[in-house]
Symmetry: D3
């Protein structure tokens, strides 16, 4: 399966913080990089997300801002 | 300066493709990872973005989707 | 494979309009509903998107606005 | 009134789950389709959203990802 | 009609730059503030957007980043 | 430092409502305008956000919807 979204980062779930409605998931993608994601707690349950899981973080290019000094 | 957005990736501009209104900017963030961004061509001009520039790609956590096999 | 994004609509590509950088893809999801997507023209090429293709449109719940009369 | 956002789905609120800050709203748009939205609990109160309400879910095309097998 | 999105700015269209697929619309919201929007050129046509038009720019709170020195 | 995002609004934090995972931050940008933002409670802590703080709200143009009567 292919997707239009251009940014895919394979990694390992480092932390899952679940609230009533929303959850914060931290993914270690190696090279000292971590990606944080705000998703429904329902999605955490549905994917049974827990530390150590192999996952992929996906980001649409329209959501990337560029900064330059 | 600090920002609420949690995902910051320092890198080097690898490619800039400018259209009439929108542009596609590719940033090499090391470790074999590239991030693509869709921004205004006006922003490319305003930041004078060109290959080799040191930049930071920033992504809000609400824009990150998690996939699991 | 499962994903955190909650909104998936299976459908058929109805129209692809490709610009220099960005493209407009229209997907017929049945029931009189159409979904339009703004993606890179590069993604159209990479997925070889054309009218008649079976695709799935995916939307993160944080991107859905609710209106009420 | 017209809006630039291209994706509008009229439906009926099926479920509202309110947390301290964020809420999860599920809208039945017919044809077996449901759309989930993450909004402020404040917005749920402001719109007095409850199951059975007639609403419209709106999505900007820049937020739609296309998948193809 | 009420909407869940919390940020609404009434203003006047200052400039419309139309590309093949995407357009850049600048809205003057007074007080020296301008808001720029990236929408489909199709939407510009559908709303017949032109300088001088009275419009409202709407932004979902999940899309707002906070910076602090 | 310059950024590709086109919409920057300097203002003063008017209110911070912190939940377990997400927070709602209201920024007064003058001229009777307020901007609300949904960010991680972790970000509120990291930036030590509190009423009275001078901040800037930043919005990417791809996230702005235009309405016209």
């Amino acid at each position: 399966m292919k997707m239009s979204a251009r940014n895919h980062f394979a990694g390992t779930v480092a932390e899952v913080k679940k609230g009533q409605v929303m959850a914060q998931v931290t993914v270690d993608i190696g090279g000292g990089h971590r990606i944080k994601s705000a998703i429904f707690s329902e999605s955490v349950d549905d994917l049974a997300l827990k530390p150590g899981d192999k996952v992929t973080a996906v980001i649409k290019s329209t959501d990337v801002i560029i900064f330059k000094d």
